[in-house]
Amino acid sequence: MRAVFRWISEHPSVSIVAFFAILPFIVPYKALATQVLVYGLFAVGFNLLYGYTGLLSFGHAAYFGLGAYGTGITLAKLGWPSVWLALAVGIAAAGAGGAIVGFFALRRRGIYFAMLTLAFAQLLYFIAFHLSDLTGGDDGLRGIPKLTLGLFGWQISLDNPVSFHYFALFWVALAVFGLRRILDSPFGTVLAAIRENGDRAQACGYDVTRIKQLSFVFSAIFTGLAGALDALRITVVPVEALYWTTSGQAVIMTLLGGAGTFFGPFVGAGTYLVLQDRLSLIIESWPLVIGVLFMSFVLFLPKGIWGTLSPKIPGVSTRDSS
């Protein structure tokens, strides 16, 4: 057992991809597996900024929504039937949004950052709400087609839930390997230095604001990819994708799973979505249960599920939770 745990902790990216490759066959219905995968990526994007850089954003709905609308509008309104192009547009929109908001929000440090990111996300929500010709407004953006991918002579229909799951997994795998690469690079080490002591990192000669901005843009890109995949998954972009409650979901998932850990966002997304799935059958006010659970986590388990469990598992290196 110990060897298995050690292998998992030494190959975190491969483990995540392997886990999601078999997940559709474990859960009661396949759609849940894909949802956990996509929202896990959303939480990964948030976690890069909060868990690894120490910046609490309450506005990640903005990049999730930009990714979703960018992809959705390309397919539904502009009529370019290329999934690859649509995803690229979504990711670019989210990255650009992250660069602009980052420029403003990073003018103020500390507690202002949370308020500013929230305010800018809400601004975007109101803009999307009123630009109904482009975004569908209150009704949401409809008419995103389920396309067929031509890949090396194969024809893969994204209409099939299983093939869509593996299509999404391909992107999440790229993102997770990319994130591991970022975190293991000297840049990742500087991020940790900024999280632990920004003034000291500054004194060591690092351009802290510029590095934070870069981390913000990376975070927005991961989040935008999640939003883009979600638009393809449900073939509609509700305007609530940009609402503050969506930002709140990323915050809750990441903290439930364990901020600043590699597996935490996926653990949190899984916990949140399974709870939602089960609880909504029993009681109508399931968000009340999640709200209270979240409060107890902040009070008593601030490291989250994975952050609390992983040091107790034999063979798991502490690098992951540090």
Binding site: R108, Y112, L118, A119, L123, S285, P287, G291, M295
Partner: protein, 294 residues
Amino acid sequence: MPDLSLSAIAAQLFTGLVLGGILVLLAIGLSLIFGLMGVVNFAHGSLYMLGAYFGFFLWGLTRSYWAALIIAPLMVGLVGVIVERSMIQRLYGRGPDDPLLLTFGLSLALVEAVKLVWGKIGLTLDPPAQLAGAIDLGFMKFPAFRLLVIAITALVLIGLWLFLEKTNIGLIVRAGARDPLMVRALGINLDRVWLLVFGLGIAMAGLAGILAGPLRGVYAEMGVEIIIECFVVVVVGGMGSLLGAVVAGLLIGEVVSVTSFFAPKMAEIVVFLVMAVVLLVRPSGLFGEPGLAE
């Protein structure tokens, strides 16, 4: 083209003053609690919402808006005191993110709890019958209840100023905000003073809620909508600055009111543009000190 007569514009400016007054009551409590305890209370808006619902409940019980106006803020203040003692107190010393996250969770839970008790559909809270009409101010007619909101806001602000500047406890509050360690060394129990100020700030949010109820309706999401405007007020005015909260609150109230007169769709958006401009020109806010809360 909208009606550009003098009385129409004056009415719009007064409406801005009403909205601004409610924002000031909220932002000043938010700023006071932050300045003293370093806690950004995300649930401030939800406690404002609770004030409106408690007001509705008490109005049904007593059939008197006036009784509700006095008791509801006290009840909300009590909720605030219980929250501070049972939860927020545990987080002192953990950095400012944790209280923000906790009160975010509280905010979600309160919205759902209110829906569970009072239902998902919004309620209507009528202004007191004596103030249902309009008063002729000479140059225009203005709803009497809105004038009451302006008057109460002004009275509360004067009362708060007298409390902070002229009383012994106010002196302790100001000293505690500047140097808590020194105040403690002088043998003063700061925890009790903090609790008092926390309760006071929350009660002001409750008061804002019951005043806003007859104007904007009573519904579960009313608090989360206004907390975002309050954050904008605090960013524009400067966190921890009470004068900043007053000036920025009135400014945002007027900007929203005047914009909704000329271009209703822009009213929600222009608030954030004001914030972006202030951030570019004066990053620490109109009255904020650079470095505070960073």
